[in-house]
């Protein structure tokens, strides 16, 4: 998605980007597979920065190995580094799988990682050797979302040739490619699928690996994640549901592209699809839908006619926009990081205000990740935090966005933020609103 309202000027430089680089997305996918560890083929800094960025959001250990390029690697190639990294990772972590991603550096060098991996397999393979997933993720070609999708494809491809037979249990099997959502969202996907009582594979599943319990022993690779066995069954599924946009080309049967289930309309689409596939209804879900609509009625006056700025990942922004419009909020600006940055957004809002277009009045709130704080301060309006990353609050990875319950959560957050903002503006506080 582009900025819906185009700024008058377009910048050469990127200021305060609201996108991140590709290996980050890929690493989170790898983190969502059972006993799998990500390994970034490139220099140390990329891996460490991605870890730091992720740790600040999830507040969980996030080990990502690196093949640690040094100056000579750039001249002689990274084969030896990769081999050594694989040796050491296998020895230390005993993973069932290693998710290897490239970086801008290794891609620019033209590293043939797939060849290296084949060589390595020939040289060192034992019966205990882990599976390799390889995602090519140069950041000059895409964002973290592209990296995320690329990694999902890599995982599916790597398991496509496996010889298991389709069993009776696999009838009606569903794949659900979980988009880049919070841990709580992933748990909600599980709950929804379970309510429809079908066999399914949910990939990736970092709901536990990146939001685990307090430990008794240090877990080298945190428990949880989509099992390799479930991944291997993906090719038998009749249907694959994805929310990642048409550009995500997952090599599976009957791929259904849906909008992210935020808002009643979008969530209905998701549930209708599930109903059609399974021929089942879920009473619980209908009840939750009803409760959400009831909440809409209770709260509609607080939001009706308000103006919002939305930013974040493309599919997330599209879904949020549809949800906001559904409750009577005007989305005056919707921006995804692939093409916009915060500075451009700010410029757009400011210049539109001067030129008295549809933005003649300032927005009432902005909704997106914590990096919008700067924008919210500049405009003097509140920020409703959701999405990724949430670096300035506790529990960002536990924000529920999806399904009827997630929508209810977002709806209440928005109402309450607007109420609190108004309350704070008033010289005296009413305790009834």
């Amino acid at each position: 998605m582009k900025v819906l309202t185009r700024p008058k000027t377009s910048f050469i430089s990127t200021r305060n980007a609201c996108k991140l680089c590709s290996p980050l997305g890929a690493c989170f996918v790898m983190r969502g597979i059972e006993n799998c560890i990500p390994l970034i083929h490139g220099s140390q800094g990329c891996a460490t920065y991605i870890r730091r960025y992720g740790i600040s959001h999830f507040r969980e250990p996030l080990d990502i190995a690196s093949s640690n390029f040094v100056e000579t690697t750039a001249i002689f190639g990274g084969r030896d580094n990769l081999f050594k990294a694989l040796d050491n990772v296998i020895q230390q972590y005993q993973p069932d799988a290693i998710g290897i991603t490239s970086t801008c550096l290794s891609e620019t060098m033209g590293e043939d990682v797939e060849l290296y991996l084949r060589e390595y397999a020939k040289l060192r393979r034992t019966s205990l050797s882990p599976l390799f997933f390889y995602a090519s993720t140069p950041s000059y070609r895409g964002t973290h979302i592209d990296g995320f999708n690329e990694a999902v494809c890599a995982v599916i491809k790597a398991t496509a040739n496996n010889e298991n037979q389709k069993t009776n249990e696999d009838k009606q099997r569903i794949n659900l490619i979980s988009p880049f959502v919070s841990c709580e969202d992933v748990r909600e996907f599980h709950r929804i699928l379970q309510a429809f009582d079908v066999p399914y594979t949910l990939l990736p599943d970092y709901s536990e690996t990146l939001d685990g319990v307090a430990w008794q022993d240090y877990q080298k690779i945190p428990n949880g994640g989509t099992t390799l066995a479930d991944i291997a069954k993906m090719k038998y599924a009749d249907t694959t549901i994805t929310f990642n946009g048409d550009s995500a080309n997952f090599p599976l049967n009957n791929v259904v592209h849906l909008p992210l289930p935020i808002g009643v309309d979008n969530t209905d689409k998701f549930f209708d699809t599930l109903k059609n596939i399974t021929n089942r209804e879920s009473a619980t879900m209908s009840y939750e839908r009803g409760r959400l609509i009831d909440a809409y009625f209770d709260g509609h006056k607080y939001v009706s006619g308000k103006r919002a700025v939305v930013y974040g990942d493309k599919m997330f922004v599209a879904a949020l926009k549809s949800f906001l419009e559904e409750i009577g909020i005007n989305v005056v600006l919707a921006a995804d990081g692939a093409e916009t940055d915060f500075e451009t957004m700010l410029e757009t809002i400011r210049s539109s205000r001067c030129s008295k277009t549809e933005l003649a009045d300032k927005p009432d709130f902005i909704i997106g990740n914590s990096k919008g704080l700067y924008l919210s301060r500049a405009l003097g309006i509140p920020l409703v935090r959701c999405g990724f990353p949430i670096h300035d609050r506790i529990g960002g990875h536990r924000i529920l966005h999806i399904g009827y319950r997630g929508t209810l959560n977002l709806f209440e957050r928005i109402c309450n933020t607007l109420i609190e903002y108004k309350q704070n503006q008033e010289p005296f506080g009413w305790t009834y609103v």
Binding site: I12, S13, T14, R15, N16, A17, K19, L20, C21, P23, G42, S43, Q44, G45, C46, T48, Y49, I50, R51, R52, I55, R59, E60, P61, D63, I64, A65, S66, S67, N68, F69, V70, E71, T73, A74, N81, L82, K84, A85, L86, N88, V89, Q91, Q92, Y93, T103, C104, L105, T108, P138, Y140, R141, T143, A214, W215, Q216, D217, Y218, K220, K371
Partner: protein
């Protein structure tokens, strides 16, 4: 039980048990999840606080996005450093070169933000595609009439330390600026006692605190590199007659360059903990050989310490006998922390750093107790094992180390550049005690499954 990476065996040492010399100062082992970052990170740390300069990261988006506003350096006035600027290189530029885009981006940004200088950070792929960043900077410098300085911080060309050096070289370009006014800023022209502070980044306003101590001693600070530092300040650096270098190695190279070029002597100090903070002031007083100044310093220290010590007793009472683990970027800070912890009744049982040298580890060996584990360029698996084995109640480190502590039910204190609490100086020591106390003494740890298993007596 976890087996260490064989190659790393000698980067870990237990005092009293292992007799080999510590191995260190080498590139991280591939596949070890090192806590180190890259050359670029080192340069960013040093230059980032210069708030009225434009900091443009030349490369693909990640390097800039991950370093956007991550440090706690404060600035009075300009705040340009808190924004993130990137050339956001795309495939086309990777193939055909990024010079044009860099030129346009620089010009555009300088026009809009009117910075007083610009730094251009080279990241990994810039080193590979071979952009002539130098030439672009020179051209923009001429056209825009501000200094535009390339920082050679390609991530893979060394470690964070090399990044420090690259940043220091970039800074010296400004210190020795050809445009400097030689009359008002001649070498050592400021009447002594005037000093520069190097390697102090004004985290949570620490620079202002430290400057105030020196002011009370009667010492003038010409420039602080780079806490609360503005471009116009920098060329005054040469007027000072002493450089005081805080924070392990980050800015020693600038001090060395200035010593060589201007003959300015330097002293290494630390502003953490009571002894080291006091020593940092006394060292300066001694350097200037002034009895009055020495007297003023004694008065200052006496006053600060007499206020501080009684306040510490309450924390010490609770913390006495508890154990700490330290994992920091530079080991120089670790020396101070070990001493500071002793004031709180705590012994250090694990101490490691990302970038220590042989001498650093020798010194650490000297000042720690038998059985202490020393580690160089460690990783989460090792660190988690060490803290458990040694029964640490506290881990001091940065954000990347935090989950290691919390997962295992251990207290944590952030002592990195990202912190938002002042820990330097005398006031900082009190904050440090509070920080340590509030985490170590929290009642929540009694719910930790790990603590219940590993410790005979339950914590608290």
């Amino acid at each position: 039980m976890l087996a260490f990476i064989p190659e790393r065996q000698h980067q870990i040492l237990e005092k009293g048990r292992d007799t080999y010399e510590m191995e260190c100062a080498k590139p991280s082992t591939a596949g070890s999840v090192s806590q180190r970052s890259c050359v670029f990170c080192g340069s960013r740390v040093v230059l980032y606080p210069i708030a009225d300069a434009l900091h443009l990261v030349h490369g693909p988006i990640g390097c800039a996005a991950y370093t956007w506003d991550i440090r706690g350096s404060m600035s009075q006035g300009a705040q340009l450093h808190r924004l993130s600027f990137s050339t956001d290189l795309q495939e086309n530029e990777v193939i055909h070169g990024g010079e044009k885009k860099l030129y346009k981006a620089l010009t555009e940004l300088i026009k809009q933000y009117q910075p007083n200088a610009a730094f251009v950070y080279c990241t990994c792929i810039v080193g590979l595609i071979g952009d002539d960043v130098e030439a672009v900077c020179k051209r923009v410098e001429k056209e825009q009439k501000i200094r535009v300085i390339p920082v050679h911080s390609e991530g893979f060309k060394g470690t964070k330390k090399d990044g420090y050096r690259a940043a220091c070289e970039a800074l010296f370009e400004l210190v020795d600026s050809p445009q400097a006014d030689y009359l008002t800023s001649a070498i050592h022209s400021s009447p002594p006692p005037t000093i520069n502070i190097l390697g102090e980044f004004n985290l949570a306003g620490e620079t202002l605190m430290i400057k105030d101590y020196y002011r009370r001693m009667g010492v003038k600070v010409a420039v602080c590199f780079t806490g609360d530092c503005k471009i116009a300040d920098i060329e005054k650096a040469r007027t000072a007659s002493l450089n005081v270098v805080q924070c392990s190695g980050s800015m020693t190279s600038l001090a060395k360059i200035m010593q060589e070029k201007f003959g300015t002597p330097f002293k290494r100090v630390s502003y953490f903990g009571i002894e080291d903070m006091s020593k940092a002031l006394y060292d300066v007083a001694e350097h200037f050989k002034s009895k009055e100044m020495l007297q003023r310093t004694q008065n200052l220290v006496k006053k600060e310490v007499s206020v501080l010590l009684p306040k510490l007793t309450r924390y010490r009472r609770d913390l006495e006998g508890r154990k700490a683990a330290i994992y920091v970027g530079g080991p120089f800070k670790a020396f101070s922390l070990i001493k500071a912890l002793r004031h709180l009744g705590m012994e250090t049982v694990v101490v490691g750093s990302q970038t220590g040298t042989k001498e650093d580890y020798e010194l650490l060996k000297e000042i720690t107790q038998e059985g202490t584990i020393l580690c160089d360029d460690s990783n989460p698996l090792e660190l988690s094992r060490f803290v458990l084995e040694k029964g640490a109640d506290l881990l001091i480190g940065g954000v990347k180390e935090r989950p290691i502590a919390y997962k295992m039910g251990i207290g944590f204190c952030d002592h990195n550049h990202e912190r938002k609490i002042a820990l330097a100086g005398f006031e900082g020591m009190l904050n440090f005690a509070k920080e340590v106390h509030c985490t170590v003494m929290s009642p929540v740890w009694k719910f930790s499954p790990a603590r219940r298993q590993y410790f005979a007596e339950p914590p608290i």
